[in-house]
Symmetry: C2
Subunit: 280 residues, 2 copies
């Protein structure tokens, strides 16, 4: 997908919302948890049972409910990996469901991968060839080599973590190096080796006051902004300080959407929160 | 596993070698690649075919050949993930094989994970509960919160990347922050929240001249040292500059061992390289 196509989606749906699929069995409504206890679901000739069955049912309902109100989905790999092979099968079924029913969606693997060149090449293959993602989040600690293999795929994006939304982002990301915070050093280095057509940045929303400054030295790249909703950031502030002329934001909400209700109305509740978040 | 048990293994086997299982189908000997073309292998009632069958056969032969000459195995997750679900099944079969036949081995997931608290908790569960690893490598960019969930498992270790062995480690890790290189800032912060019984560090061997300095401010923790062999580091130098009084090193070689020969004698060739690397 190109950024022009993504901008067109933002204008058409009047939203910058990305829904984070941090799907946690222990937080699902009881009637969805119970699907894991017995029985199985058949999808395209494959059988799913146990927690995978609950995860797929939960994701499908969330996706159908929120698709009119978002332009992107972002499965968090940790949640699927924690359930082992069955969790990874549930992830594949979820990707396949989105790709076949909502082909316009921008699909992000939230994986925070980052390793030396030959290993980074394998991760690029994992997310862009074995799986069908448009983008993958990357941790930049090991340097530019961590990112370059991802840049070679036309229409695909590396999303480098610059400034995260957690408290301990202060430990290293905000410390000053050559008179600049480390996150700025990282972004400037990454901008040297990439273009806005293959590189985006994670910029945490709970630091909305810093967004205007970051936008000033990085005017053209998309920012993926976590920290809205459960983590306390406001999507209005993010848009005010972080948007560029065309938009240039993917504003993520995960828990705030997924667990808007713990009852049988969870999908309707998710749709309501989604429809009110990151609107433009 | 405790560090005392690990030190006992080092003394008993007279080596600090960790064999990195960066298993790449395209680099296997032809007769092992051919196993993927037809037929299947049954292991404990599970069937494996395709590339998973080749990966398992290759790993088993490498493990049986090198087990007398190493104290640790380190599967690199990227290589298994790149083959999708079948790759992850091959990884699980490999772990199970090591656990049942060589229970004394220290088993490291080379995953370079790193994310905010609730996601880090899921990754800890993935590698320490769903899978049976002793340790997992972690990228520290997002701060101390990235690591804390891993520290809560007795007998398990977080192995934080401090200084990696790749060229672009110079981009950020070696840049100076508060008069110290970033890798030192990272290590000092991590030492504050941990003990040598739950924390190790990745320290790249291709900077052997820096090892003595790093050892001076971090005398007690184990270092996992990559970059020996294919990446050009010398294990003698690493031991000279990096060992502490008890040893305190896991010296990794991956490609140098795995692909020592591309012929039918690959396992014997791997054993020979392993027997000559990181001896004490």
């Amino acid at each position: 997908m190109t950024t022009d196509q993504l901008y067109a989606q933002i204008r058409a749906k009047k939203t910058m919302l990305c829904v984070g699929l941090d799907t946690d069995y222990s937080k699902m409504p009881e009637h969805i948890q119970r699907l894991a206890l017995n029985g199985e679901s058949a999808i395209k000739g494959e059988l799913y049972k146990g927690k995978a069955r609950s995860i797929i049912a939960f994701n499908k309902a969330i996706i159908d409910a929120t698709a009119p109100y978002c332009i992107s989905y972002k499965p968090n790999l940790a949640f699927y990996e924690s359930y082992g092979i069955e969790g990874m099968r549930a992830l594949e079924a979820t990707i396949d469901y989105i790709r076949s029913k909502y082909p316009e969606m921008f699909l992000i693997a939230d994986a925070k991968r980052g390793d030396i060149g030959n290993t980074a090449q394998m991760y690029a293959r994992t997310f862009f060839e074995t799986m069908d993602f448009d983008a993958v989040t990357i941790s930049p600690y090991m340097g530019s080599e961590t990112v370059t293999p991802f840049l070679a795929y036309p229409g695909k994006f590396a999303i480098v973590v610059a400034l995260s939304s957690n408290k301990s982002s202060a430990d290293f990301q905000q410390a000053v190096q050559d008179e600049k915070p480390l996150y700025q050093v990282v972004m400037e280095k990454m901008m040297e080796i990439s273009t806005p057509e293959n590189m985006m940045f994670v910029v945490g929303a709970t630091k909305a006051d810093r967004l205007a400054d970051i936008r000033s030295f990085c005017p053209d790249n998309f920012f993926l902004v976590p920290g809205v909703g459960a983590q306390g950031g406001s999507s209005e502030e993010v848009i005010r300080y972080g948007a560029n002329a065309k938009g240039g934001l993917l504003i993520n909400s995960s828990r705030g959407v997924l667990y808007a209700s713990s009852g049988e109305d969870y999908a309707e509740a998710a749709a309501k929160v989604a429809s009110e978040t990151a609107r433009i």
